[in-house]
Symmetry: C2
Subunit: 546 residues, 2 copies
């Protein structure tokens, strides 16, 4: 027997309609790529998105077609997302920081028919266009007064393109499982793989992520997504802000400390979100300039683990709550968020920071489990760590065109490739990447825990730990160190510093010094490269063990 | 082209699983019907719900079967809802305050196979059982030590019934549009009609209603639904609390001021919800006993319009925010909620109360419009009033067995039968019931506005306004008054009191005094009865107009 409730598919246009109708005068303040600040409202944003939809139809873009965006966070990028999804076409964000070959690969793999591009990236597209056979037009996100000289044959001025339309358009209707967006994951090996979001997944994810203990966005908030829209579905803020009526502050290309601070203050920002690197730059700027954010209440930090010192500084020096979060491109992206439940709400000082180092608990609609290598469930005791697997309506079941094959286990869980603990309150903590964990005598050692510990040594600028072959234990940890400028620490002093703070059998067997640790395009340590570099490395105590 | 996100139907069991896994130690404190307080947790509630599911299967209850509940808000009632929905069966709440004949009609119309009944209502069921041919067993919600002597042949002791099971059970899987719950609306005319909620509608409604500007429930909250689970889907709090991890405080049968206050304090309640009558009793109790709630932050008031004086007292005397809300059984039930958006957040005093008299703005997933009698959209100017129509995934598209026929307009909107204004910020205000609005010379006069104004007169205990036939204007308002005890106001003094506060042509043409105004079972003025009573009434100025 079925219920007798209305058929109301979860389509993305309903979000911008809701915002325009119920929060029509709420503002979106952007730093334009051309320079000046720009202000619009949800009502006007919807009108322009409707014009985008009309212009797309004029161009012959149809249901299911992809259009790439190479763009910063601005109101125009939002208009493009809503315009595309409003006719069943697909926004396909491309990370401009990837290598040009990867960008070409991604655009070709997605078969994107159009590229929407900020002025910043016109040279990039000019250099690549001959390798992009599917692209029919390049729409430059600016007005005619700023149109650049370009070698692109099919360059279109965005503002002129939409000015030809009147906005008198009805959004298309279709199945809520229709594809809405694409974002390629940049793994450390192999080609990037395309994650394909649906209307349903984006709407459900936004509803779940705006809950009070999650992003907690209200109409009284002004939210600044510093995290780019091309990074992991832009943390879905393009949807969750209008869904709740919160104002938006879009920083454009400016992610340095001075620019972020200016937008925080100008936009009266209450909630902001980005990766730790951005916050490091902001904190350095604030300290140097002796400035303080005056409206900011909450910083959501994800993308990689938030350093304890950063949390402490935000909270103790500036009185701003830090909310540690975790997610993945494949998860739309929110997986967990570390707001403090009653069991932890009374904590202060180090005890509070201990909890805040965890990535937190899952929103409704994310199911988590940790398992051993054989797939058996492991206990939520905060100590046992296992492979972290997730299930939910906004989590990938496959990659575009089937790349990577079958990615779910028998129960439908997606393997995150992370290793984590979960405590009895449901707080998850990433302890390592599954491929980086060191398997020593059948037990697992977290490379990340060792790295975090080692960087606490005053002479250590950066640390990486990899497993190297060991005849008796299979693998043992090697600690690789970049020294602070001018420092010359003794290996023993670093190991002494670590001793007693971890189990004895976790202690690295050796320390190696390097001038630089290689990183991926998104700033993660490239352990594959380190493993290659140290492929012939032999631990000093190996002979004795043999 | 479809997205590549996981298939994860929106099933109700996922809510209790989420709570048990992520907020397992969070408590549900209940006033048991037997007397003592009872505490359980979400983890234990899930276990018992699994046992209910097993016991239902043992009894032969299948997908699509209905089971009635005649029960107060307690943990057992929650267990029954989750147990039933976990196998695709349907909870069918019955309002015990209805007339016995209506109760029999409802249970028979729903063809409920079981009745779950609190001790309070065993005599009621005993009196009706011979008229209930579909009912195979009556499960009495108590332990064996409290089982009553009963004439019921198939009476079962709930605690024994579930104690026979071990809770080792996997929830069933099915289409998310499967029926989950039923609640009959008690109109003032005709037989009650069955609203049928689905798993999808209940899950989406709970996700939408927990947003920060709506119910705003966090894991740190303790929420007391004083509103009974048999009233309008229990305002969906049985789902939205576990979905967010908020604690629950269930008041059982006690809705008087002393009982409500005791549970507010014992349960450290932060958010509570009920109809104005309950709050009137609480405020009288607080004043008489000179007590103050010490943890309560927010009172959600709906079901009928919240009197301005009540809002003022809660806020000014006790420092507790009042959130006016509006909904319908057919809307699962939340339609709008009056939290203060930035445009209104700075208001104080009367200006703030003016806004708080409105029923507020819609959550995401509720679309509203107001139209004239021909279905044309009317402007959102806060003045124009029209028929209020709504659309969304948790709003009825039909009643059970097709009663009442087609209920949606051509665009899929459900007519609420209310008349309302909507202001430019999206704040809706009910001005009348469509059938009660007085149509005078082609213009509409709000009977409710007149009533609210008249009760401000110190000698008026209650007021009702109906339209009576008028040869020139079609209808003109008649003001019907119940005097305060011992008072004997002059009709002219009441009209003088009203004059100048409303448009001149809104002024009632006459005043009639009565000893009592008839009410429906749910406390609303029964205007049909008044119209019958005054069917032969002739306005004093009618002759002159003829």
């Amino acid at each position: 027997m079925l219920g007798l409730m209305q058929d109301w598919p979860l389509l993305i246009h309903r979000i911008i309609d809701h915002a325009a109708n119920n929060h029509g005068s709420q503002t979106i303040l952007s730093r334009s790529v051309e320079g000046p600040l720009h202000t619009t409202t949800y009502a006007d944003l919807r009108t322009n998105a409707l014009k985008v939809a009309q212009a797309l139809e004029r161009h012959g873009v149809k249901y299911g077609d992809r259009a790439a965006t190479l763009a910063w966070n601005t109101w125009r990028h939002l208009e493009v997302w809503y315009g595309l999804t409003g006719i069943g076409a697909i926004y396909h964000t491309v990370n401009p920081r990837l290598f040009p070959d990867q960008i070409a690969y991604i655009i070709n793999h997605a078969e994107s028919r159009l590229i929407f591009v900020d002025l910043t990236f016109v040279p990039l597209v000019e250099a690549l266009i001959d390798k992009l056979p599917h692209v029919e037009a390049v729409i430059i996100l600016t007005g005619s007064e700023h149109m650049p000289e370009t070698t692109l044959e099919n360059a279109v001025c965005y503002e002129d393109w939409i000015a030809a339309e009147d906005g008198d358009f009805a959004w298309k209707s279709f199945d809520e499982n229709t594809a809405a967006g694409m974002c390629y994951t940049s793994g450390t090996t192999g080609n990037p793989k395309g994650v394909v979001y649906s209307h349903r997944s984006n709407v459900l994810h936004s509803m779940a992520s705006t809950a009070p203990d999650m992003l907690g966005i209200a109409a009284a908030d002004n939210v600044m997504p510093v995290v780019p829209m091309f990074h992991a579905n832009g943390w879905s803020l393009a949807f969750s802000c209008p869904l709740t009526g919160g104002g938006m502050v879009m920083p454009g290309a400016g992610m340095d400390g001075a620019s972020v601070y200016e937008m925080l203050e100008t936009g009266k920002v209450t909630i902001t979100a980005a990766v730790p690197t951005v916050w490091l730059m902001l904190l350095q700027y604030l300290e140097k300039e002796q400035k303080r954010p005056t409206t900011l209440k909450k910083v959501i930090i994800g993308g990689s683990a938030c350093p304890r010192a950063m949390t402490k500084t935000f909270q103790d020096v500036y009185g701003i709550d830090v909310i540690h979060a975790w997610g993945m491109t494949e998860m739309s992206p929110l997986g967990s968020l570390c707001s403090l439940k009653p069991a932890y709400a009374g904590l202060t000082g180090d005890a509070k920071l201990d909890v805040q180092e965890k990535q937190g608990f899952a929103p409704f609609s994310v199911e988590m489990k940790i398992t051993d290598d054989d797939g058996n469930d492991l206990p939520w005791d905060g100590k046992t760590f296992g492979r972290l697997k997730v299930r939910g309506p906004a989590i990938s079941k496959a990659y575009f065109k089937g790349e990577g094959g079958e990615i779910l286990d028998a129960d439908g869980y997606f393997d995150t490739s992370d290793v984590a603990t979960i405590d009895p309150e449901g707080y998850m903590q990433i302890t390592d990447r599954a491929k980086d964990v060191i398997k020593s005598g059948g037990e697992w050692i977290s490379s990340i825990d060792l790295e975090n510990l080692a960087v606490g040594h005053p002479d250590v600028a950066e640390a990486a730990v990899i497993g190297v072959a060991h005849p008796k234990w299979d693998e043992r940890p090697l600690l690789i160190i970049v020294r602070c400028e001018g420092a010359d620490p003794d290996p023993a002093s670093i190991l002494d510093f670590m001793a007693g703070k971890i189990a004895k059998w976790w202690m690295p067997d050796a320390v190696a010094f390097v001038d630089e640790i290689p990183h991926t395009a998104t700033g993660k340590i490239k352990k594959t490269a380190l493993r290659e570099q140290f492929a012939d490395y032999r631990l000093p105590n190996t002979d004795a063990a043999e």
